[in-house]
Assembly symmetry: C2
């Protein structure tokens, strides 16, 4: 029996990354899930990540601890208010204060280290260029550029037939499409949490960018939204 291909999947505990884990599984990968404790105020998502990793039978789940509060500069890590009820137009055109400087670059760099040590060639990340908050590090051209860099950074890049690939299966999908596919693949979205500003019980605020996009996704997909909202 040929051993299964290995994939690193970045797992935040939200709707998108849970769906990506299920998709990588459906593609017959052994999933090595990677989460981050980076000083996020919504660290309750790490509990969701652990539950999802178990429910979706990943091969291994690691959580890297690094404190991005060292640099500050974001509403997700600092004492800055998370914006509520922004319009879709604002989301499309402004980089909001919830942007964490270089976060996806840091996360993908750790994924690259993980990939190199377990011998995985595929790194999955649930970025989305359609229903998203306007972060620069979610754009397709950023991902392509990271992949090019990754192949020069590592032993993998030394031989041509041995390339690392950054896989972004959600990049052109709407939230509704993502929720539909994940539901078909058996993801239990009640386990996931997308909110930037949840309460201590893991209930969602219902008004941050992430909640608004998630609500819209379930509504447009005509699926029941299992999220517990406090607001």
């Amino acid at each position: 029996m040929t051993p299964k291909k290995k994939a690193i999947v970045l797992l935040s505990g939200g709707l998108d990354s849970a769906t990506v884990v299920a998709m990588a599984h459906a593609d017959k990968y052994d999933v090595y899930a990677l989460s981050f404790s980076y000083g996020q105020r919504h660290s309750i998502e790490l509990k969701a990540a652990a539950a999802i990793a178990e429910a979706l039978s990943v091969k291994e789940h690691k959580t890297a601890v690094l404190d991005l509060r060292l640099f500050g500069g974001s509403a997700l890590t600092d004492d800055i208010d998370v914006p509520k009820d922004r319009s879709e137009d604002d989301m499309e055109h402004d980089i909001p204060v919830t942007y964490v400087p270089a976060r996806n670059t840091i996360f993908l760099s750790f994924a690259l280290a993980y990939a190199e040590t377990v011998g995985a060639k595929d790194i999955f990340i649930g970025v989305n260029a359609l229903d998203y908050s306007g972060y620069p590090d979610c754009r397709p051209e950023y991902i392509a550029s990271f992949e090019a860099m990754a192949n020069l950074a590592t032993k993998a890049g030394v031989t041509e037939d041995d390339r690392v690939r950054i896989r972004t299966p959600l990049i052109d999908m709407t939230k509704a499409e993502i929720a539909t596919i994940g539901t078909e693949l058996g993801v239990d979205y009640s386990m996931t949490i997308s909110c930037y500003d949840p309460n201590g019980e893991g209930e969602a605020c219902g008004h941050c960018d992430s909640c608004l996009l998630r609500k819209k996704g379930f509504r447009e997909a005509d699926l029941a939204d299992p999220t517990r909202y406090f607001g």
Copy 2:
């Protein structure tokens, strides 16, 4: 008075990075030095980094804590013997076990976050493509690729006249040239430590790649080597 330009300088505590701090100073930058406590066995270099940062009057010095032992795979973080007395030919052609997967990518990603939060456009790293251990993430093509990616990753990359630059002033220099320039700029190399396998007193082994290259540098530059060796 125009405010001084800001630069992030990666500071390990070794000969190369101390020289880079002095060069950035000579170029009239305010230096924001960044070190990493990443689970390296030679963590005594962090004491050296702090001493150098103070001696060279950096504006700020931060140390990011992250544990790369999470992934393993290197003699610098794991219980794997550091190779001793390798030939120059081996150093040129083999990636040694001291290679830490994706280390420079992770370090530069943190530097990018730091740069974005303090408003620095220049990130200095003391990589060297001549007298080095054969790590893929020290090659000029890797650095160019990281810079391209960095400008798509951040707010900086959104406008064209606002580019982040990865500065590698040592990349084409021999260790002898580096030691000569640093000495001219007043770097006290007795404060630096390059060894991969030092003892608890911060004395160098004298036989790892890093010690061999450093010795050769001082010898060829006809400078007294202030390093304390135990072997």
